[in-house]
């Protein structure tokens, strides 16, 4: 690989010290004879000086080497990609046409990848910072970086007798399967402290597990068969753009589409009807709809008889405690609309609800998901093609986790308390932890956990695939907590706010410089990620870092780390495959994926098509003993929302221009979305004397941000909307400065920790 890409890489190295324009690239390529004379189509009608056609753009399919890649971001769509490489330079990317889901297209983020690879802002070498947050970065060698890290680890072990003083936090920066080698690196050193759980979707995962025994959604491509679609708290127009064509097609065939969301989203604008629900009242609304099913005798009695556990108790609860008028009052949606839509939804099959992740980011989020699931179940749409309560799935994730599964060195001492799963992807294959385990801390309370940690305290933190200071909660408390740490090491692509607080930064490869394999938690496709260009600068992939650290620490003290000291990223990828994966996808070998993405061979596009549920009763559980065991109501029930702690609801959902703190920092993205905005309703703007473009302070008990306002009726008058993003080093904007670390209700059962009530936040707003 090195040899194949050698010359191209050298070209880049020579050119990239400075800003590289398109023209520079072309000149560089022309100089090496790479650009031949380009054909026009010859039939020029007008234009006297036009004998030469411009020499930019697509150069013909023979001009490129084409590689298969996979977008590894934390996104529904997880697009298969093609990368077009010429002389070792990534020229452009496209969607993999083999996937019917993405159909040859990417999103605004995916198309920005070439700029991310060749961004002048990339971290190029290992560096150390003399004084956190000072920006006094000094380039160091990999040897020095690894030596510092290894010696600190050995010191911790010496001091504490265990490695529980070494903490690791990682989440969704790269979902490539080999990236679980970061966890593997930790396991191969011993028993460490892990920040477990997920800030994303845990309450909903637990809810669906209580109801059905797993989180398992229909194939999104089968939404074309839906005759009624409710998109409840999801916004696919900006964060699952390839799902929209199925919704459009269903609509074209006559389906009605209703969007329920606190914000009049772009998805709502494409619907037949939009309901502006009060945040946190989704459960009340769903229960009101369920009650109306009973009143009109529209429930699917045959299905419920056969498949519903605890249904009669649930029905009694609805009759006793829920009315449509009450649901209308709670949710802000008129009773007349609730009744009509409920009747419409129940009168056709298949009908489906897509439950977004935003709606469960509440202190009652899991309970709300259970209520919506229950409504879908009552209409008999679970297990139906084109039906279902769609949330997500991990059905296609049955890899070996070879990079993840590593044994602790002999004699390692660990944690002896009770622990749960180490995140939603924990397959329960966690090494040989017969006596000892890792120490699990809540990923969503990183600041508090570090502040509270004793015996031993956390002294060193390793961060990978995560931008703690942008994405974790109560930023100001994190800064405090970090002061307790002797050493912070971050592996990343850019000098993000977490890197700013690090002592050592390790430069990582982009997806184009690495091998891995990716699947989705939404669709059922699998894509290979081939190395398309040689690693630039001194970058290393996560598993190469693990391997290098293993070699270093073992050279200092033999037997300190079991991670293989020599690895080949491609071989490591191959080791993730097994017969189960091959059989599920109907392929003979991973090499089949070099011809394009493959889709799982599903018995049905519907989950639960045989009505054999994964619950203890084997049925759909309106009443779940496991839920009770985890401290929740056994029965699907209304749960009060969090009380407001400031004047206005603050919503901080995903932006279309970024994936959490990724992408928005690129200059290409700034061309389309130059700055953050706070969206407020004209009524609130009048009350506060604000007009478009005014700078405001948005503040609450957790912190304060300043930004410009956009006066817009897409938001209700009691709400402030700001999209989360990291705008790059020169912009301190971060919505999570305003988000406290209050937990959502569920998540502990399947992901090890509850989620965060990201959308149960409140703030004040004033002209700055």
């Amino acid at each position: 690989m090195q040899e194949k890409h050698g010359s191209g890489n050298k070209n880049i190295q020579q050119t990239l010290g400075n800003k590289v324009s398109r023209r520079d690239f072309l000149k560089m390529m022309t100089a090496v004879g790479a650009i031949a004379a380009l054909p026009g189509n010859g039939l020029l009608r007008r234009g006297p000086g036009a004998s030469v056609m411009p020499s930019t753009g697509y150069e013909g399919k023979d001009a490129y080497q084409v590689f298969h890649n996979a977008c590894p971001r934390n996104c529904y769509d997880t697009c298969g990609m093609l990368s077009y490489v010429k002389d070792g330079v990534l020229k452009f990317v496209e969607g993999d046409p083999a996937s019917t889901f993405t159909r040859g297209g990417l999103c605004v983020k995916g198309y920005s990848y070439p700029r991310s690879v060749y961004s002048p802002d990339r971290i190029k070498y290992p560096m150390k910072q003399e004084g956190r947050g000072t920006g006094n970065w000094v380039r160091i060698s990999w040897d020095e970086a690894l030596d510092t890290i290894a010696k600190k680890i050995l010191e911790l072990k010496e001091q504490d007798g265990s490695l529980l003083g070494l903490g690791m936090t990682k989440y969704s920066g790269n979902f490539g399967i080999t990236h679980y080698g970061v966890e593997g690196m930790m396991s191969s050193l011993g028993y460490t402290t892990r920040f477990v759980g997920t800030p994303c979707w845990p309450a909903g995962i637990d809810a669906q597990n209580f109801d059905m025994g797993n989180m398992w959604c229909n194939d999104p491509e089968d939404m074309v068969h839906s005759k009624y679609i409710i998109i409840w708290g999801a916004n696919p127009s900006i964060n699952s753009i390839h799902s929209m064509k199925y919704i459009n097609e269903a609509k074209r065939r006559g389906a009605k589409v209703l969007v329920i969301d606190p914000i009049f989203t772009q998805t709502a604008a494409k619907a037949n009807e939009y309901w502006q629900i009060k945040p946190g009242a989704d459960g009340a609304l769903a229960l009101g709809m369920a009650r109306h099913l009973l009143d009109k005798k529209l429930e699917d009695k045959a299905w419920l008889e056969e498949n519903g556990e605890g249904y009669s108790e649930f029905a009694s609860y609805l009759r006793r405690e829920i009315t449509v008028d009450w649901a209308a009052e709670q949710s802000g949606i008129p009773a007349e609309r609730i009744k009509q839509i409920t009747e419409e939804f129940a009168s056709v099959k298949p009908a489906t609800i897509w439950l977004g992740y935003g709606l469960q980011r509440h202190t009652n989020g899991g309970a709300m998901v259970r209520a919506i699931d229950a409504f879908v179940a009552m209409t008999g749409n679970i297990g139906k093609v084109g039906g279902g309560a769609r949330y997500g799935h991990l059905f296609t994730w049955g890899f070996n986790y070879n990079a993840l599964v590593q044994s602790a060195p002999e004699g390692s001492i660990g944690y002896t308390g009770v622990t749960g799963p180490m995140g939603e992807f924990d397959t329960g294959q966690g090494g040989n932890a017969a006596t000892y385990t890792d120490r699990a801390f809540n990923i969503n309370k990183i600041a508090q956990e570090i502040l509270d940690a004793k015996e031993p305290p956390v002294r060193m933190l390793y961060v990978a695939n995560k931008n703690v200071l942008s994405q974790d909660f109560d930023r100001n408390k994190i800064i405090e907590a970090f002061k307790k740490l002797d050493l912070i090491v971050v592996a990343d692509l850019f000098f993000n706010p977490t890197v700013e607080q690090a002592d050592i930064v390790l430069p990582t490869t982009t997806l184009f410089e690495d091998w891995t394999v990716n699947v989705s938690y939404w669709h059922y496709w699998m894509s290979i990620n081939e190395q398309a260009i040689a690693p630039m600068y001194e970058t290393k992939s996560d598993i190469e870092i693990a391997s290098a650290l293993s070699a270093k620490i073992n050279s200092l003290k033999a037997g300190s780390c079991t991670f293989p000291e020599n690895i080949d990223p491609k071989e490591m990828m191959i080791k993730e495959f097994n017969d189960g994966i091959y059989s599920l996808f109907g392929i003979n070998s991973w090499e089949d994926l070099k011809n394009g993405a493959h889709k799982a061979k599903l018995v049905s596009s519907a989950s639960w098509s045989d009505n054999k549920f994964g619950t203890p009763s084997g049925k759909y559980e309106f009443k779940s003993a496991i839920a009770e065991e985890y401290g929740h109501s056994a029965l699907v029930k209304y749960k009060e929302p969090r009380e407001a702690y400031a004047s206005y609801r603050l919503l901080t959902p995903h932006s279309m221009y970024g994936l959490h703190s990724q992408f928005q920092n690129l200059d290409w993205m700034l061309d389309y979305n130059p700055e953050p905005l706070a969206y407020i309703h004209p009524k609130l703007a009048r009350e506060k004397g604000l007009v478009d473009g005014d700078t405001v302070r948005v503040y609450n008990k957790t912190g304060e941000v300043q930004l410009k306002v956009s006066v817009n009726d897409i938001v209700p008058a009691d709400t402030i909307l700001m999209y989360e993003a990291w705008y790059g080093q020169n912009n301190p904007f971060n919505v999570n400065i305003l988000v406290d670390d209050e937990s959502s209700d569920m998540g502990k059962y399947k992901t090890g920790a509850p989620g965060v009530a990201i959308h149960d936040q409140f703030a004040e707003i004033e002209k700055a």
């Binding site: 000086g49 605004v108 070439p114 700029r115 127009s237």
Partner: protein, 186 residues
């Protein structure tokens, strides 16, 4: 005969901007340079701010004002209607920027020349779709042949788009539709 044009269906457009970035990706455009972007419709045209768009680049006019006013012949129009700009011939006088009412030509300060959408003629010649069209996840942006395809349900001069029949812009439009909206009382 073939007469290529972009068709912009604002009813299907989800405002995802994939078209614009696909263009930057295909041409490796310099930071600051944008050949295609979404223009949000004003509230007089569509009742909600930032919720309906026209995705616009060059309209590849039949009577291109850019070409007419170019002193050095940097513009060419192909038989199939595509108006191509040649950066190597361009002297950066910006006459075209002044003449085009659609804002399609863009001046690249660093390079001292104009740039604009070429409808990816190189891709079209190879039987591929323009990068922006291929990118569109909802088929809101399509490539049509005005000599062959039925465009009777489209409009040439939608509200908010400059009315310039003298230039005969080739882009065709379908207007957006607003849903029924149930708001809560606050």
């Amino acid at each position: 005969m073939t007469r290529y044009a972009f068709s912009v269906n604002a009813e299907l457009c989800i405002g995802c901007s994939s078209c614009g970035m696909a263009c930057k990706n295909q041409y490796n455009l310099d930071p600051g340079m944008v050949w295609r972007k979404l223009y949000p419709l004003s509230e007089e045209i569509y009742p909600h701010k930032d919720r309906a768009f026209y995705s616009l680049a060059c309209n590849h006019c039949s009577q291109p004002a850019c070409l007419e006013g170019c002193p050095v012949g940097a513009y060419t129009q192909r038989e199939d209607g595509i108006v191509v700009h040649n950066e190597d011939v361009c002297i950066g006088c910006r006459n075209c920027l002044r003449n085009c009412p659609f804002g399609a030509p863009r001046y690249n300060e660093e390079e001292g020349h104009v740039e604009k959408c070429s409808m990816c003629w190189q891709r079209i010649d190879e039987g591929l779709l323009p990068a922006c069209v291929q990118a569109c996840p909802t088929n809101a942006l399509t490539l049509v042949d005005l000599d062959v395809d039925d465009v009777s349900s489209t409009v040439q001069y939608p509200p908010g788009f400059p009315y310039r029949p003298d230039l005969e812009p080739s882009t065709r439009f379908v207007l957006p539709v607003a849903p029924k909206i149930v708001r809560r009382d606050v």
